[in-house]
C-alpha cells in the first residue's frame, strides 16, 4: 500500500492531515472565504464587541472588525512563519548534524557543543531575546525561531548519522571510492529522512506555539496584522464580557497545533517502526 494510504488508515493521522489541509486552503483562499475581507485593516467602531451572530459568526473585536474574517487571514501569517522558520531550521540543522555525525571526534564535538549552547537556554527565552533585539515584525520572528530551533534537527541527524556510519552499506560505498560528500548525501541522508519528516511535523506545532507566544508578548507582526497570538493579547482587557474575542484565536491555535501533532504521531508509526512505542 502506498505511504499515503497507510497514513490515512491511521485515524489520528487522517484527522491531522485534514486539519492541516483545511489550514492551507484557508490561508490560500482567505480573501474569498472571509465574509468581510476588508476587515483585516478596516474598522467600524459602531459595531465594536458584538457577540457572535448570523452576520458575525465569531463576533466582532474592539475595532468592530469581524473576528472570523481576521482569524482566516491570520492563518496566512501562522503558516508563513511556521513553514519558513522550520524550513530554515532544517536547512541549517540537517547539514550540521550530517557533517558532525560523519566526521565525529573533533569536528563533531565542536558542532554538537555549539548546538548544546543553543539548547542550554529555553527556546522561548532565546526567541524572545532575539525578536526583541531585532524589533517586532514577521521577518524577525521567523529569524528568531530559525536561530532557536535548528539544533533540534542537528541533534537528530547527528544521532542517526552516527548509528548509520558503521553500517556495511556505508563501508561498501566508501570502499568503492565514493567521496565523503557522496556517501553523506546519497547513502546516509536518505536513511535519516523518516526521522527528519516526523520531527518536522511535530516541530511545526512547537514553532506555531512559540510564534503565538511572541505575538502575545507584542513581539510579532505589528497591528493591525490579524496574528492569532496578538489578537489574544488584544482581547485580554475585554474579558470576561467579550469571551468570543479570545476564544476564537485560541481555538484556532489549538486546532492547528493538534493537527501537526496528530500527523507527526501517525507519520512516526508509518515511517519509523522502530520508534513505534507500544502501539
Amino acid at each position: 500500500m502506498s505511504l499515503f494510504g497507510r497514513l490515512m488508515r491511521d485515524r489520528a493521522a487522517a484527522i491531522g492531515t485534514l486539519i492541516i489541509g483545511v489550514l492551507v486552503l484557508v490561508a490560500i483562499f482567505a480573501p474569498w472565504l472571509a465574509p468581510y475581507p476588508e476587515d483585516v485593516a478596516a474598522f467600524h467602531l459602531t459595531d465594536r464587541l458584538q457577540p457572535p451572530s448570523a452576520e458575525h459568526w465569531f463576533g466582532t473585536d474592539r475595532m468592530g472588525s469581524d473576528v472570523f474574517s481576521r482569524i482566516l487571514f491570520g492563518a496566512r501569517i501562522t503558516i508563513t512563519i511556521a513553514v519558513i522558520a522550520v524550513g530554515v531550521s532544517v536547512a541549517i540543522g540537517v547539514p550540521i548534524g550530517l557533517v558532525a555525525g560523519y566526521y565525529g571526534r573533533f569536528t563533531g564535538g565542536v558542532l554538537m557543543r555549539t548546538s548544546d549552547v543553543f539548547l542550554a537556554v529555553p527556546q522561548i527565552v532565546l526567541a524572545i531575546a532575539i525578536a526583541q533585539t531585532l524589533g517586532p515584525s514577521v521577518e524577525n520572528v521567523i529569524l528568531a525561531l530559525s536561530l532557536t530551533y535548528w539544533p533540534f534537527w542537528a541533534r537528530l541527524v547527528y544521532a542517526e548519522t552516527r548509528a548509520l556510519k558503521g553500517q556495511t552499506f556505508v563501508e561498501a560505498a566508501q570502499a568503492l571510492g565514493a567521496s565523503d560528500l557522496r556517501v553523506m548525501v546519497l547513502h546516509i541522508l536518505p536513511n535519516t529522512l523518516s526521522a527528519i519528516i516526523v520531527r518536522t511535523s511535530i516541530g511545526m506545532g512547537a514553532t506555531i506555539l512559540t510564534a503565538a507566544a511572541l505575538g502575545f508578548l507584542g513581539l510579532g507582526a505589528p497591528p493591525p496584522a490579524p496574528e492569532w497570538g496578538r489578537t489574544i493579547s488584544e482581547a485580554r482587557e475585554f474579558l470576561p464580557e467579550a469571551w468570543w474575542y479570545a476564544a476564537a484565536p485560541g481555538l484556532a491555535i489549538f486546532l492547528v497545533v493538534m493537527g501537526f501533532n496528530l500527523l507527526g504521531d501517525g507519520l512516526r508509526d508509518v515511517l519509523d517502526p522502530k520508534l513505534r512505542k507500544g502501539r
Binding site: 489520528a12 557543543r113 555549539t114 548544546d116 549552547v117 543553543f118 542550554a120 537556554v121 529555553p122 527556546q123 522561548i124 527565552v125 532565546l126 524572545i128 531575546a129 532575539i130 526583541q132 533585539t133 531585532l134 524589533g135 506545532g205 506555539l209 503565538a212 507566544a213 502575545f216 508578548l217 507584542g218 497570538g229 489574544i232 493579547s233 482581547a235 485580554r236 474579558l239 470576561p240 469571551w243 479570545a246 476564544a247 484565536p249 485560541g250 491555535i253 489549538f254 486546532l255 497545533v257 493538534m258 501533532n261 496528530l262 504521531d265 512505542k277 507500544g278
Partner: protein
C-alpha cells in the same frame, strides 16, 4: 568507576558550554539598537551628559573589552546593575528565583501526580475507551497555548466565579521570609491564613504550567509500561500467580520509569521555560515576569543575567538527570 568517568566527562564540557552561552547571549544583546546610556541618563539629558555616561559605563570600549570586563565581574557574581530597577541584577534574580522555583515545583508535582498514574492506566487498559480518551487528552494538552489557557482559567475561576485571586503570589504581607518559598514559610510559621492565600494564588498558574508536562508524562509512561508489560519476567510473575496490581504498580512501574525519569528531568526544563509566559499572564513575581519586563525596557544586562542563570539551571539539571540515570539504569555504564 565508570560512573565517575561519565560524570567527569560531562563536567569537562560544563565550562565551555557555559562560556559559549555567555558569548551567544552577549552578542545577541549587543546588537540592540538602543543606547543604554540614553536610558540611564533620562529624557532631558544633554548629549554631553550621555557621552560622559557612555564613557563611565564603558560603552566606548571595543566589544571584546566590554565582554572581558563583563566576564571578570561575572566570576565574582557581579552581573551589573539593572537599568530599570536600579538594583544589582544578581540580587534581583536571586530575590525572584524562589517564586519561579515554587511555581515550577508545584507544576512538577501536579504533572507527575497526574501524568504517571494516568499513563499506567492508559497502558494497562490499552485500546479501551479510557485509553482512547486519555490519549486524546494528552495530545490535546500539548497543543494548547499556555498564555491562552491562563487567560481562560483566569476568566472563569477568578473573574466569573471568584474562587481564586486574579493574579499575584499572596495577599497581604505574607509570612516572614525564611526559605523564600511562601508555601513552606507559611507552614513553618504555622501561618494558616497565609498558606491558604498562597495556595489559592498558586493553583491556577500551576495547573496552566503543568498541563503540557502532564501530557508528556502520560505519553512516556504509557509507552514505557507497554514495553515492560510484554517482557518475559512479567509473564513469569503472572504465571506464578502474583496479583496483577502488585505486578503493575511495583515491578512493571519500576522498570517503566527509567524513560520517565529522564523525561521528568527534561520536563523540569520546559516547565522552567514555560514559566516565562505563564508568569507574565498571572503577574507572578518571578524570573519570567522580570525577564519580560527587562526585555520590554531593553535592559540588556538584566536579560543577559537572566539567560545565564536559566542556562546554568538547565545545564545542572541535565547533569543531574544523567547521574540519576546511571543509578536507575546501570546498563548505560556498559
Amino acid at each position: 568507576m565508570r560512573r565517575v568517568e561519565l560524570v567527569l566527562s560531562r563536567l569537562v564540557w560544563f565550562v565551555p558550554t557555559l562560556l559559549g552561552l555567555i558569548i551567544v547571549v552577549f552578542l545577541i544583546s549587543n546588537v540592540v539598537p538602543t543606547d543604554p546610556a540614553r536610558i540611564v541618563a533620562g529624557e532631558n539629558a544633554t548629549q554631553a551628559q550621555i557621552d560622559a555616561l557612555r564613557e563611565q559605563m564603558g560603552l566606548n570600549e571595543p566589544l571584546i573589552v566590554q565582554f572581558g570586563i563583563y566576564l571578570r565581574d561575572l566570576v565574582t557574581g557581579d552581573m551589573g546593575r539593572s537599568l530599570y530597577t536600579q538594583r544589582e541584577i544578581s540580587s534581583d534574580l536571586l530575590h525572584r528565583l524562589p517564586a519561579t522555583l515554587e511555581l515550577t515545583f508545584a507544576a512538577m508535582i501536579l504533572a507527575i501526580g497526574l501524568g504517571v498514574p494516568l499513563g499506567v492506566i492508559s497502558a494497562i487498559r490499552r485500546n479501551s475507551l479510557t485509553d482512547q480518551i486519555l490519549r486524546l487528552l494528552s495530545i490535546s494538552g500539548l497543543a494548547v497555548a499556555s498564555f491562552w489557557l491562563a487567560m481562560e482559567l483566569q476568566m472563569y475561576f477568578s473573574t466569573r466565579l471568584g474562587w481564586t485571586p486574579l493574579n499575584g503570589r499572596i495577599s497581604g504581607f505574607g509570612p516572614e521570609n525564611i526559605t523564600g518559598f511562601v508555601v513552606i514559610d507559611s507552614i513553618l510559621q504555622g501561618d494558616w491564613a497565609s498558606l491558604k492565600s498562597a495556595l489559592s494564588h498558586l493553583i491556577l498558574p500551576a495547573i496552566t504550567l503543568s498541563l503540557p508536562a502532564a501530557a508528556t508524562l502520560v505519553r512516556f509512561t504509557r509507552a514505557g509500561v507497554l514495553e515492560v508489560v510484554n517482557s518475559n519476567f512479567v509473564l513469569y510473575e503472572t504465571a506464578m500467580g502474583f496479583p496483577r496490581s502488585l505486578i503493575v504498580w511495583k515491578y512493571v512501574l519500576r522498570n517503566a520509569l527509567i524513560s520517565t525519569v529522564t523525561q521528568i528531568g527534561l520536563v523540569f526544563g520546559t516547565l522552567f521555560a514555560g514559566a516565562v509566559v505563564v508568569e507574565a499572564v498571572f503577574d507572578w513575581p518571578g524570573l519570567g515576569t522580570y525577564a519580560v519586563q527587562s526585555i520590554l525596557q531593553s535592559d540588556t544586562k538584566a536579560i543577559l543575567g537572566f539567560s545565564i542563570l536559566v542556562g546554568v539551571v538547565f545545564i545542572v539539571i541535565n547533569l543531574l538527570v544523567d547521574i540519576v540515570h546511571t543509578f536507575i539504569d546501570p546498563r548505560v555504564l556498559k
